[in-house]
């Protein structure tokens, strides 16, 4: 073997040969002496007094991760966070909507007064601006409440306890216990949840976590759920109860999403991604007092403003597109109506309608703008009676003006929960898996589930004569 011809394989051969000269457990011995050394050093450097705080931490942990009350505590916390979001967001949304729509009216009037052509006024104020106003008023309040609450639990150290509680369920589904961490991140943003799956070391289980992450509603979809739950489900209850009923409904939808996460993980680990769940260790970190100032900074600036800005960037062009579609007249109708009418039979089959499907197509870049898009197409028909930001206004627009029923609302919630990931998430999935196939699978699985489930609920509801 000369210097010029030394190849990597030669090194492997040499290493192989040299290994023969060593005792079989040479590495174990080194590791063992490393650990012994660490133990000795730590013993010399660390003095531990009697530890009351630690005992207290352990008592709390025993309760929170107990097999009996662990899960109920988790549900209660989820309920409290969502109730805070729903009840707080409701009032704030109406105030913001009043303000922003007021500005819209004023701007439109101003433009008309100074004689700007109708199509410029319409494009700017009824297209771009209206869409932005919807996004801000629908999204900002829930996010500004949900994100700080979520970050608070995260800083406290609650997330690993969730993973601990759900581990056995994921194991049963053939998935990795750390998937509950990535699932929790998905509540904030599914794309972030997909990136977070890097903590899972088995590629098979990581793929399962990636493909099912979309079944937890991200913050872009929460406002849709909250609005529908408030306007439709909670509306038939006494006013004192509405926020509880609405929160309960959203919790219910979230639980359905989690159930689908397990179901789909189970199906995947028995079909496309066969294999056994792998074991792992997860440290339960000590509870730490959250730093309120930093929580507010992280959740308001990094998360709320960031997500809102992204939504506004897609809402503005979407608003422009809808306005243009609604103002290109074809015969005695317009293009938006024609497309919606064409999609309508399929929409009705799913318990939805053509406008909703059109809104979903326009909103592929970001799920946040589904409701604003839908509202704008409906409003093109000029049916707004009450103020556009109030529950009563939305209710009358949808029910009296466009024939919505409770089935439409429920199925829209289900569809919002289950349908395909937004474009950002799909791109993230592609980048993380480096595979067009898995990115496609993620869309097929979710969209397929959404179609199937809404079709079934619609058919059952109709067969039973509920609607």
């Amino acid at each position: 073997m000369t210097e010029q011809t030394l190849k990597p394989n030669d090194i492997l051969t040499k290493a192989e040969a040299l290994r023969g000269t060593l005792s079989t457990s040479f590495r174990d011995e080194i590791v063992k002496s490393l650990y012994n050394e660490a133990e000795n050093i730590a013993r010399r450097a660390v003095k531990t007094a009697q530890d009351k705080k630690y005992d207290f931490d352990q008592k709390i942990d025993r309760l929170i991760t107990s097999p009996i009350v662990g899960l109920p505590i988790m549900l209660i916390l989820l309920g409290v966070v969502i109730w805070l979001t729903v009840s707080g967001a409701n009032v704030a949304s109406e105030v913001i909507a009043d303000l922003l729509f007021g500005i819209g009216d004023w701007g439109r009037a101003l433009f008309n007064q100074i004689g700007i052509p109708w199509w410029i006024t319409g494009f700017i104020w009824d297209g771009v601006y209206l869409s932005l106003a919807w996004v801000v008023s629908v999204m900002l309040p829930p996010m500004a409440i949900f994100f700080p609450a979520f970050t608070f639990l995260e800083d406290l150290g609650y997330l690993p306890r969730v993973a601990f509680n759900l581990d056995w369920l994921f194991k049963k589904a053939g998935a990795h216990g750390k998937q509950s961490l990535t699932m929790a991140m998905g509540f904030g943003c599914n794309a972030a949840g997909v990136v977070a799956t890097r903590v899972i070391d088995s590629p098979r289980e990581r793929l399962i976590a990636i493909l099912t992450n979309n079944f937890v509603p991200c913050n872009g979809r929460f406002p849709t759920l909250i609005m529908l739950a408030t306007v439709f489900v909670a509306a038939s209850f006494p006013p004192a109860l509405t926020s509880f009923i609405a929160a309960g409904t959203v919790v219910g939808v979230v639980l359905i999403g989690i159930a689908f996460t397990f179901l789909m993980s189970w199906l995947l680990s028995r079909t496309l991604l066969k294999g056994e769940a792998s074991a792992f260790t997860l440290e339960l970190p000590p509870y730490r007092r959250p730093n309120i100032a930093r929580i507010l900074y992280t959740s308001i600036i990094d998360r709320t403003i960031f997500v809102l800005w992204r939504a506004m960037q897609t809402a503005a062009p979407a608003g422009a597109i809808i306005w243009i579609l609604a103002n290109i007249t074809v015969g005695d109708s317009n293009l938006a109506r024609l497309i919606a009418d064409w999609l309508n039979p399929f929409g009705l089959l799913l318990g939805l309608d053509g406008v909703i499907l059109l809104a979903y197509i326009i909103a592929i870049p970001a799920n946040e703008i589904v409701v604003p898009t839908m509202m704008m197409v409906y409003m093109g028909a000029g049916m707004m009676i009450d103020g556009p930001g109030t529950s009563a206004g939305i209710y009358s627009l949808l029910v009296d003006g466009n024939g919505w029923t409770i089935l439409t609302a429920v199925n829209l919630m289900l569809f919002a929960l289950l349908h395909n990931p937004c474009a950002t998430t799909i791109i993230t999935i592609y980048k993380e898996t480096k595979s067009l196939k898995w990115a496609t699978v993620s869309v097929v699985i979710t969209l397929g589930t959404a179609f199937l489930v809404t079709f079934l609920t619609a058919s059952i509801a109709r067969l039973m004569g509920w609607v």
């Binding site: 210097e3 030394l6 990597p8 090194i11 492997l12 040499k14 290493a15 040299l18 290994r19 060593l22 005792s23 040479f26 590495r27 080194i30 002496s33 490393l34 650990y35 050394e37 660490a38 133990e39 050093i41 730590a42 013993r43 010399r44 450097a45 660390v46 003095k47 531990t48 007094a49 009697q50 530890d51 009351k52 630690y54 995260e154 800083d155 406290l156 150290g157 997330l159 690993p160 961490l181 990136v195 890097r198 903590v199 899972i200 070391d201 590629p203 990581r206 793929l207 970190p285 000590p286 509870y287 730093n291 992280t298 600036i301 990094d302 980048k431 993380e432 898996t433 480096k434 595979s435």
Partner: protein
């Protein structure tokens, strides 16, 4: 460890404005003089140290595995510009998951001028395993004993001098959340890089046969992959029969990885396909 001069200030100096010559540089790291890596077990507060030094707001959270990519930021201290690289937490350098690989590759091939290993004062023994593994790779190690406030509340006392003496590298007690000790930490890093502090890391050398085997492999590896840092570590991995290191050597991926450390982190560049489908 020998200290040539008394450069390390006492804690009281930090409150004195005259001594405060740390400048947080955030993302402005176009040019820098030194590279410092932040390693450590998961959830020991690496990102908090990172934020305290750079003034950036890298997301922090109380759960292991929060940082999955490399974050980079800058600070300036005594006129020298440092690039600080926040790595995902890792329990060992022999690990399999992608986030841990990001950390391992950088410590191995990124050739930082200094590696700060952030440890948890309340669980020091477990944390020392990683410290010793990092010391196997490089002399340029500073141990930051973080969460001193939490340790105090729990009645745990950590003797930094004893630790420093035993390990042969500087150990600095800090509370990153309040910024306590951070100044001492970067002063120590600066002294270590300048050679004012000379370390003598404790190493487990192994048997004479083992040392001889390593000694024979190192020149061969250096010949096949010229300029590769840490040939010794690679030799040990090969002797151990690490399939991934073997594969990386044969396919030339090793050299690629070395180069990749020089780019700003391509956040989504980790491949599942290569490492994943074995």
């Amino acid at each position: 460890m020998t200290t040539k001069k008394l450069a390390t200030p006492t804690e009281n100096c930090e409150t004195c404005p005259a001594f405060y010559n740390l400048e947080q540089m955030g993302f402005k790291i176009g040019t820098f003089d030194r590279v410092v890596a932040l390693a450590g077990n998961p959830n020991t507060g690496k990102s908090t140290v990172f934020n305290a030094l750079t003034g950036l707001k890298q997301h922090t959270g109380n759960w292991p595995g929060k940082t999955v990519t490399r974050a980079e930021g800058g600070y300036q201290f005594n006129g020298v510009r440092y690039k600080l690289v926040d790595l995902p937490g890792t329990y060992s350098l022999l690990s399999a998951s992608q986030d841990e690989e990001v950390a391992r590759d950088f410590i191995l091939f990124g050739q930082p001028d200094c590696t700060i290993v952030v440890t948890d004062a309340t669980a020091l023994e477990r944390n020392l395993n990683l410290v010793m593994q990092v010391m196997e790779i490089t002399d340029k190690v500073v141990v930051a004993i973080n969460l001193m406030d939490e340790a105090k509340r729990k009645g745990i006392e950590v003797d930094a001098r004893s630790l420093s003496r035993d390990l042969g590298v500087p150990a600095v007690p800090i509370t990153a959340r309040t910024g306590e000790g951070i100044h001492t930490l970067i002063a120590t890093v600066a002294d270590l890089i300048n050679g004012d502090i000379i370390t003598k890391p404790l190493r487990v050398e192994g048997t004479p046969e083992f040392q001889k085997a390593v000694h024979e492999l190192v020149p061969m590896i250096e010949q096949v992959a010229p300029g590769i840092p840490n040939a010794r570590w690679l030799a040990i991995r090969l002797l151990d029969g690490d399939a991934r290191v073997q594969q990386a050597l044969v396919t030339g991926e090793l050299t690629q990885r070395m180069q990749r450390q020089k780019q700003a982190d391509v956040q989504f560049s980790r491949k599942m396909s290569v490492e994943g489908r074995q």
